[in-house]
Symmetry: C2
Subunit: 333 residues, 2 copies
Amino acid sequence: MVTMRDVAARANVSIATVSFVLNGTKRVAPETRARIEAAIEELNYRRNVVARALASSRTRILALVHPDLEARPNATVIQFVMGAAHGARERGYDLVLWPVNDDEQMSHLLAGGLVDGALLMEVRIRDSRVARLVAAGVPFALIGRTEDDDLPYVDIDFATTIHQAVAHLRGFGHERVALVTQRTKGAPEPGRIMRVESAYRAAIAPLGHPPAVIAVEGNSAGGRQAARTLLDGFGEHTAVILVNEGASAGLAKGVRAAGRAIPGDLSIISAATTRELGEMIEPELTVMAAPAPELGRLAADALIDQLEGVPDAPPRTLLPCTLVPGESVGPAR
Amino acid sequence: MVTMRDVAARANVSIATVSFVLNGTKRVAPETRARIEAAIEELNYRRNVVARALASSRTRILALVHPDLEARPNATVIQFVMGAAHGARERGYDLVLWPVNDDEQMSHLLAGGLVDGALLMEVRIRDSRVARLVAAGVPFALIGRTEDDDLPYVDIDFATTIHQAVAHLRGFGHERVALVTQRTKGAPEPGRIMRVESAYRAAIAPLGHPPAVIAVEGNSAGGRQAARTLLDGFGEHTAVILVNEGASAGLAKGVRAAGRAIPGDLSIISAATTRELGEMIEPELTVMAAPAPELGRLAADALIDQLEGVPDAPPRTLLPCTLVPGESVGPAR
DNA sequence: CTGAAAGCGCTTACAG
DNA sequence: CTGAAAGCGCTTACAG
């Protein structure tokens, strides 16, 4: 293994000087610099990141803390993760995956000193992990929000997204619009459910009809259950907005199985999902595509800005979903 | 920050002895050990993983090397990734994500010394990354296979999977069975395509009809194209096996759009995907569910076994997919 | 069974 | 502009 010592010897300088040109932390005479760069090139030297981390007390590693995601293979999840990985890499950071469900284990890992900061996924309204992070003195950024709006986060702008969805439906004459959200058995609710609901209530208020919110599990069975509830209980609705990726297909199937037409009898918009999911369903669903890759990247950026003390870096970013018209929205009956 | 030095001072021993009890590398007198453990407890000490890595030349970090996965949000991909992350964590290792497309960048990262070993995803028949890994002297395990069968890998047992799929179809009287695989524009083909094809040829040989292989892109458009080819060109086929997750929904839609019934006119099995994907489609697809979580975990295990010199650890594992009956397979017409 | 000490490969005041 | 040296927090022969 070739070390800084070898480079220094070949360039006839001290290892300190090699370090200075590598980091650009001090001015070095042009000729000296050239000699060092030549030596680095000739020896094919790469500085050891572990030694650098120990000496500088900065590992340049970030943790992505998330619950078990195997269980919910939603299309947006991988986009978040990969967006964060790309964002980190591009700024010279590494991203480690920490699939931990309990706070204890997270604190334990944090105390090991491997990471400079953490990205939190699946953030809940009241999230005890945040207190742990603060206690450990570890900088962080959230993907999603707690009830405390002053923390660093990136999130989907649900207010704008839902308003646009409602506006789109109103353009087709819909006045009675229901909402389908996600119920997570056992687990505390992610913050977005609450935000989505209030955005929905605000958006449909001008229409003068009472809100109808249906919470089901994020899978096909949940979707079919939502279809039944919608058709039986709330029969008069002509459109529905879903913020439940996993239930989208089941809802469409359930509606059709009940002999109703999409969009003839019911228009559907699935929000916070991917264009690809919409294409898979019959009829092709109109979706509000989540800016998941961007959010992943922005989360990494926000955390790194914080670590590096970048001035005027935005600690919080909200991005709305993008409407991708399919064949599931039509005129109100 | 509390260090080993603090623990040693409190327990009245040298830091060497503290290190010995922490690592279990040398026998320590019970009373001494008890004193040290008490001190660790009282001070809430956690050993610094970076210092440990530098001193032991073992970082206990693994890299997951993969091309850009944002672009292809297949359901199995996240399962692989999370399986590997879990497997690593359970054995005290961390997994970093390395989204790199070119070999140069991979070698560059490797040379930094951050990782003890690498897991390679999306392995191609001839994969230049393998040579790079060998050149860098970095242990690795593949998720998938190259043409060289002697390397450490985990993979789906496509031979068994395809045979089971064909046997299932034969049970329904099918004799003319087509295959739909994936075509990746530009990129070299992953090794599995080749293996799937030869497994398919072997499995249908006893049926006495010529093979029909259709390669399309892994998205809805690809699936619809496959449907057209299948219905127009190969009209006499009564069943199709897909090994193209992303095209599954498009194929089903295309077949129905052409006025053909599933499974009345055409039976469909989608192999190497998830049960959830099958549920999303209309009619619910019979799938061969990929053992993706297990394979991710096994890949991590194989690599760690190698790093730790575990005797008799299996360097290669093949796991078949599991048949999950849906509504897309019926008697041959 | 325990300790003193070298060493892992860097960074970073400090001195000149 | 450059260097000598301490130090980051551990592990690991080596000696006793």
